[in-house]
């Protein structure tokens, strides 16, 4: 089991009932980031219409920035990144008004 912190920024908290910060435990020895993403979308989005604000074609919607400990997930294997204790995963919408 791995304990991680999650942040929703840039207005994305609206998709998650106004939640900005979360602490989560993910089961398994070496859980991947995709498991966290699935958990978030299955358990924390109450309005079904908001689902596609976060997920598109099985992964994070384009226009949402994913940072793993402040590093762009594109540099960290994206969905296949293996979560570590204490990781901070932030999801930032770049789509909300500037």
């Amino acid at each position: 089991m791995v304990k991680v912190k999650v942040e929703f920024l840039g207005g994305l908290d609206q998709t998650f009932n106004g939640i900005k910060n979360l602490k989560l435990e993910i089961d398994g020895e070496e859980p991947k980031l995709i498991e966290l993403i699935n958990k978030l979308s299955n358990e924390y989005i109450s309005n079904e219409k908001d689902f596609e604000m976060f997920i598109q074609e099985g992964t994070i919607r384009p226009g949402i920035l994913v940072l793993i400990n402040d590093t762009d997930w594109e540099l960290e294997d994206k969905e296949d990144y293996i979560l570590d204790d204490g990781d901070l995963i932030s999801f930032t919408s770049t789509l909300h008004g500037g």
Binding site: L9, G10, G11, Q14, R61, P62, G63, L65, L67, N69, D70, T71, D72, E74, L75, D84, D85, G86, D87, L88, S90, T92, S93, T94, L95, H96, G97, G98
Partner: protein, 388 residues
């Protein structure tokens, strides 16, 4: 911090491709370069500086109003303008200029952010409100017209409000936080609705409407939204991010989704679209009033002959602008009602307000702005192009 129990080694492939000594934290969408935070700041800031220098956006001693909404783009713009002004000695006087549309809950919070920015960046702040300028708040307008056309109204009114705020402060140059993504979106929107005439001008770094006393510039023309968000995040800038209470422009939303999907396949597409947009040139259409039936010349030979003729008859000519409207006097026209510079007898804002007062906005706008009244689509098309 002792957060990470197993300390991860940094592999050579994870190093910054500029300094080769720190771990890369981001990948530039423009060229896929992997950079560390420090190098990213440097590249990001320098690129905007080079745009400012290359396009000769400012002169020394100029006073610039920064259109500030409290959102990420304008907050980063204010921060960058302050940084570059000090670093490169631009000699600019910077002022924050905000528009209060009068949207309870949305604008209150974002204006609070702008007020904090004022303290953080030590710049004077001027707020102009729709209520003061037009005697209508956006909330009142929406309760009268419905949500659907709110962005159209707001766009027209905001553009004029920024100009009026600037003039009030005797400032003749406003910079806004429009970025590369916004520009590419606008190009796509104009392309998708067949508005070829607007494509080229929509990617101009500076716009200066004929006779307008206020110039507009976009120092972020080549700056990706993703990098603006990353910069704000890493620098921990204080910005406000909630979508306007009223529905965003539906059509822009469509263009944005398309663009984001394109970007995920090929990140350079945003710059490519702006580049293509800039090369989209249309021949100006001209007709002569004394021979109105004569058509536009077909080949270059005729074109040259006509040019010669035109030179002799300039005062008999009328110009057809890309949006189909006709100018009779070239510039310096003023709105009969409010005195604001306008191509038409009555400016767009006054037409909208007149419609509101009569409580029948749609009919009146339809008659005044479109030659053939074929519905709301054309109306919003005409109006959307006015705001930017």
């Amino acid at each position: 911090m002792e957060n990470n129990t197993r300390k991860k080694e940094v592999k050579v492939g994870q190093l910054c491709q500029l300094c080769h000594c720190r771990k890369a934290v981001m990948k530039r969408p423009k060229n896929l370069q992997k950079l560390c935070k420090e190098c990213f700041y440097h590249v990001f800031e320098t690129e905007i500086h080079l745009t400012i220098i290359k396009e000769k956006l400012f002169y020394k001693g100029e006073t610039i109003a920064i259109g500030a909404s409290g959102g990420k783009d304008s907050t980063v713009l204010a921060s960058i303008m302050k940084t570059l002004n000090e670093r490169y000695n631009y000699g600019l006087n910077l002022v924050l200029l905000s528009v209060d549309e009068g949207i309870v809950g949305y604008r209150d919070d974002s204006l609070a952010t702008v007020k904090r920015n004022q303290q953080q960046y030590q710049m004077p702040l001027e707020i102009v409100s729709y209520k003061d300028l037009y005697n209508w708040t956006m909330d009142e307008i929406v309760s009268c017209t419905g949500v659907k056309s709110s962005c159209t109204y707001c766009g027209v009114l905001r553009r004029q409000a920024l100009d009026r705020g600037a003039i009030k402060l005797d400032i003749h140059h406003v910079v806004t936080g429009h970025n590369a993504d916004d520009m590419a979106e606008t190009v796509l929107m104009n392309l998708l609705r067949g508005d070829a005439a607007r494509i080229e001008s929509s990617v101009n770094v500076t716009t200066n409407s004929i006779g307008s006393p206020v110039k507009r510039s976009k120092p972020f023309k080549y700056t990706y939204q993703k990098e603006i968000v990353l910069y704000a995040h890493y620098k921990k800038l204080d910005y406000f991010s909630t979508e306007c209470t009223y529905a965003p422009e539906a059509f822009r939303g469509t263009a944005r989704v398309l663009l984001k999907n394109l970007e995920s396949v090929r990140p350079s597409c945003i710059i490519d679209i702006i580049h293509s947009g800039g090369h989209f040139k249309l021949k100006p259409k001209r007709i002569r009033t004394n021979t109105p039936k004569k058509n536009i010349p077909q080949n270059t030979n005729n074109n040259n002959k006509n040019k010669h003729n035109n030179n002799n008859n300039t005062d008999k000519e009328i110009e057809i602008r890309p949006d189909g409207s006709v100018s009779i006097v070239k510039d310096g026209n003023r709105c009969e009602r409010c005195g604001y510079l306008s191509m038409n007898k009555i400016c767009k804002a006054c037409i909208l307000l007149q419609g509101l007062e009569a409580n029948r906005p749609k009919m009146i706008i339809g008659e005044s702005l479109t030659s053939s009244s074929d519905g709301a689509a054309k109306l919003s098309k005409t109006l959307e192009g006015l705001s930017f």
